[in-house]
Point group: C2
Chain length 113, copies 2
């Protein structure tokens, strides 16, 4: 009938749409692994390909998606291109993922559900 009893303050839909787009990009096991690796250092496409055991053209595509929404950055060094994390929120977000994965390397209040 009426609008909800409680007055709540919500993020605007356009912001949520943009955030959802970033989350959608992150929501892929290989891309999560790429981020997980880049948390521990910068790597080239070939290195990431080896780490993930995924062909380089697919890695390029994953990297492009993540770069396009501001999660990663890259620098060319000779013939190689080094990728790194640039989004300030990404480390915290990966911490949530690690916590969700039951990894003990994080706060204790996130062990199960």
């Amino acid at each position: 009938m009426e609008l909800t009893k409680t007055k709540i303050d919500l993020l605007p839909m356009e912001k949520l749409s943009e955030a959802a787009a970033c989350l959608k990009v992150l929501a892929h096991p290989v891309r999560l692994r790429i981020v997980d690796a880049l948390m521990q250092g910068d790597f080239t496409v070939r290195e990431i390909s080896e780490i993930c055991e995924v062909r380089e053209n697919q890695i390029c595509e994953h990297l492009r998606l993540m770069q396009n929404c501001g999660l990663l950055g890259s620098v060319r060094v000779g013939r190689t291109v080094h990728y790194k994390i640039v989004s300030p929120q990404l480390p915290a977000l990966l911490s949530c993922v690690r916590a969700h994965c039951g990894d003990a390397a994080l706060p204790d209040d996130c062990m199960e559900e």
Copy 2:
């Protein structure tokens, strides 16, 4: 040629796949808004429908997806069903989303780096 120079320690792919599945469920503007609302209290399907300005059958579908991967829980009270957040990681994750949205109203959980 060889495996990467640096020894890095990575989450196993099956864990990442499960985390990716949860992130994929979250990666939708209406579902983010539902979580944003549920952070401020429990609501019924009808209330969520009004908050999101989305038909109830679609809301049910969104709620079902989020419940299936352990993000939300529900309790029936008479003829209504009240939904709430049950995943311990969800508040921190939403803080990241809020931070990404440039909102200043967040705990210190996701600010590092």
